[in-house]
Subunit: 560 residues, 2 copies
């Protein structure tokens, strides 16, 4: 599987050559600058370094000789999308586990597990999720023996659809040391074979931890698999660059292996998982741009507070649905100041997770204070900036703080946000237009795998504030939508700027890396519902075509 994945990522590059002039012609192309200004073109001339040499209009003369030419057949071209907040390894690891949620019978699930194990001979544990004995009509929990019947050579661990039970085979039970002698832990239950103490194979709630701790930590080749898989997914979705929020040393080493061995196909702007990882990965400062601008350690990801769902987001006033609780900071203001100051001293960029209005205000306080010491182009980032007190909104622009926001969170969270905050505190919630109006840069992303990594859903949410179900009609607080141009800028050039990459990528313009998408519709015209259904036909990174939709048969139209 590993080799297959790596070569799948590599294979698409073979269609083009990075060391020859290329012409992509007969397209309806747009690029957007940071102010939302649109440039239109019908052809892209790419130099042998993978940079845009010229944008051509219909009337312009084409180069007489190019080494490779692609006929876009009138399709639409936009800049490669930049996801400003996701978790590369999380996307990959998530995609590599088996999804049983579609199985309708135990036998179907068994077949899926057997197939998956056969397709993954190198994986030491077979991990999956999504089973539900109710939809199977089983009338009981499944058993270890029923897993053993399909995979006996390795431990198997399948999580129930609700996350409240594990189904394990005999090898997994043995690896965790779970026997007839093992007592049920507090808050958990080990299902037993009828009439005996022998574990039957299902572990409920806190008993799940007995198994979780037996699952080995991912090894380097697991990371490499995850990275290859994440690239495959992201490039297919049109994401050509991403900010990886919370890079570990193990993840970084995998990214370097990808770069060293030529299978890093997208751009990753890494933000280390805390100050220790920052120092170990970056050393005395951010790394250089590596591998033709495909990888850089930009800085560090820090946490101010938690999330709204778990009521960990730090609010100025108590939760509407929990009046004694205002959430809480994860670090003290002093700790945050110290860590941010130390990072800034070494010129690392600082990206701080802040969800609640109190959390956002606190981070803005720190940024204002540090701004007096650390002058220059710091590009402080607040990640999520979900709930901001209206009195604080203008402070983003004033401090030059980038608001790194995820439009789909708004559509996913709106009912929960209403419950947590009540009707009177929503005016600064997911307040894209207001934050931008205050002069701050909006950098859009998905937070994948927390949400899907599909960016066109985010673009649709950004311009409509409606979900995939079209709800609520007319959009949730529709005054906070942004224009199509602003949404596209937020997903392209702004993301590049937010990661210090704007002189390298983010727009389709001469001198920048040729990162662009061929898509099937015009994002400046289609309805939000149609925006969401956009098909990525081709993805190009640095002048190389790294993805082609399987449904589109593309015949290169020319050559020397």
């Amino acid at each position: 599987m590993k080799r297959a994945l790596l070569s799948a990522v590599a294979a698409f590059g073979l269609a083009t050559s990075a060391s020859a002039d290329t012409l992509v012609d007969n397209v309806q192309g747009v690029s957007i600058d940071r102010d939302g200004k649109v440039t239109r073109f019908t052809g892209i001339w790419i130099d042998d370094d993978g940079r845009v040499k010229a944008l051509l209009e219909r009337k312009d003369k084409r180069p007489q000789r190019t080494d490779f030419a692609v006929d876009g057949k009138g399709a639409y071209v936009i800049p490669g999308l930049v996801d400003s907040h996701l978790h590369v390894m999380g996307i990959g690891f998530g995609a590599l586990t088996l999804d049983l949620s579609g199985t309708r019978t135990l036998a179907e699930a068994q077949a899926a597990i057997r197939d998956y194990a056969a397709r993954n001979p190198d994986r030491r544990w077979i991990i999956g999720r999504g089973w539900n004995q109710e939809t199977w009509g089983l009338g009981r929990f499944p058993t270890a023996a029923e897993l053993d019947a399909v995979v006996a050579d390795r431990p198997v661990l399948m999580e129930r659809v609700d996350g409240h039970a594990h189904w394990a085979n005999t090898q997994a039970l043995a690896a965790a040391g779970i026997t007839a002698a093992t007592a049920d832990p507090a808050g958990g239950r080990i299902e037993r074979v009828g009439g005996s103490r022998a574990p039957s194979g299902v572990l409920v709630d806190n008993a799940m931890k007995l198994l979780d701790s037996a699952v080995p930590a991912p090894r380097p080749d697991d990371y490499d698999l995850a990275l290859a898989k994440a690239q495959e997914i992201l490039l297919a979705n049109g994401v050509t660059a991403a900010a990886d929020m919370g890079t570990t040393i193990e993840g970084w080493q995998s990214m370097r292996r990808a770069g060293d061995s030529g299978w890093l196909r997208m751009r990753i702007m890494a933000y280390a998982a805390g100050p220790d990882a920052m120092e170990l990965i970056g050393g005395p400062g951010p790394s250089p741009w590596l591998y033709d601008d495909k990888l850089r350690l930009n800085g560090v990801k820090l946490y101010m507070d938690g999330a709204l769902g778990s009521r960990g987001a730090w609010l100025k006033a108590p939760y509407a649905d929990d009046p004694r609780n205002t959430g809480l900071p994860i670090v003290t203001g002093t700790q945050l100041r110290n860590v941010m100051s130390r990072a800034a001293l070494d010129k690392f960029q600082v990206a701080v997770h802040a969800i609640g209005d109190r959390g956002n205000a606190e981070v803005l306080d720190v940024i204002e204070e540090l701004g007096e010491t650390y002058k220059g182009d710091r590009r402080w980032r607040i990640e999520h900036a979900q709930i901001v007190d209206p009195v604080d909104i203008a402070r983003f622009g004033k401090t030059g703080t980038i608001a790194s926001m995820q439009p789909v969170h708004q559509t996913s969270d709106r009912l929960m946000a209403e419950a947590r905050l009540g009707p009177n505190r929503l005016s600064g919630a997911y307040a894209w237009r207001s934050i931008a109006a205050g002069g701050a840069l909006l950098a859009f992303g998905t937070d994948a795998p927390v949400e899907s990594s599909e960016p066109f859903a985010g673009l649709a949410a950004a311009i409509s504030r409606t979900g995939p179900d079209g709800q609520p009609f007319g959009g949730w607080m529709p005054g906070e939508t942004v224009s199509r141009e602003a949404a596209l800028a937020g997903y392209t050039v702004a993301g590049a700027y937010a990661g210090f990459g704007e002189s390298r990528f983010g727009e389709i313009k001469p001198g920048l890396r040729a990162d662009f998408l061929v898509i099937d519709r015009d994002p400046l015209l289609v309805s939000p519902e149609d925006m969401r259904k956009t098909q990525v036909l081709q993805t190009w990174v640095g002048g190389e075509r790294v993805y082609m939709s399987g449904t589109q048969v593309d015949r290169p139209a020319g050559g020397r």
Copy 2:
């Protein structure tokens, strides 16, 4: 200091260009292949990639056009030396501390400390060694106040010449929390100000540990300084490639920073400090050759036993000077088998430290066993191979095990070895010629900073088995000397082969990287005493001149 060092390393490169043909002419050149066969030439033609294009004899026509030409003025040229066993960061860190051993008075030492602190404004602690109140004629220990008088802004820690006492300033005492209330630890003594409990500034024996634990771990920029300094030293000594034995993730990250930012000037073959570092650095296998063959993670360094001096080397029979002690293994045979097997499975090269005859026999046992499973070109290495039972000597050759040996250890250790082993067990001690005669490859090194990194002292020892004092007359067990050709091969091509680099460097021959030295005498002719005094005039790595002796004024003789 950091910038100065880094630019010193970089500056010599400016004299030549790596992207143009170069001719180094009018030299008396030799290269040696793995069999000790000598090739002679008078000119080296280097291509614009830094590889040797052709070796020219006197009669050969010179290229009509080269971009850069150097007149060797009849000096001698040999391949760049490959040190097969050293500790890059140890060399750098050691060289960056202050050496007080030459000071004759307290005032001289104080001046040296003041100067050193002024020259190193970025170092958080001022560390040094080598003071001796006896040679100063002081009649007492020095005091913290006498250090405070020259450095008050940072902690200062100076180790006594014998390693049995620290001299600390007030900041260092405070950092370690040493006060009047601190009791003397067992086996140690805190010197006190006369008539009080206040610490005077000197800490003896086990009290030293109170201070050692307060010294901060090196930070990334400390590693970078150390790496730059080590390169400066090694290149000046003619070492163009080295096996780094025991690379940590922090050290590796520094090497990568050097490569990424263009200040890696020598070749480093890294052997990770144990299996965890191996996995973190290399991931699923050895790294590729990086930075134009300047860096590779080859494998892992493991330990079988300890050292002879401390009687930790594992012997077949008890120590002659400690009849109840046979030394001891650091790992069990099972542990060693497991770790070596795991490394070999992932194609990491394995280098095992073994000093005693029992230790060497045990490692050879494991290699023989693993050789049945792990076929192919494994290049098992035994590091040091100091004391080998004559019955085991032929097993090196039979198993293809590389003997990575340090000739200077023989001259440094011979009296101790005689004491530890007695007269009857010396025939397999430092048995270079016998091991080679059994068909094994000898890869020579220095173990710097345990010994000096000066390789010509090693070459002199290898051909003479006499020390710098000329003792013992005629050499210690002179039957174990090797020929000049074999010694030079052991320090060049064999070292490249021992690190899987022989198709890239190690000889001066067409297609290999142009790594060579211009030196002032003929190593195939001079006496051992003169060999030791060899002056390195120029050091070239990959066709770039990276070192020039300060005493030689070189005027490039030509050009286009």
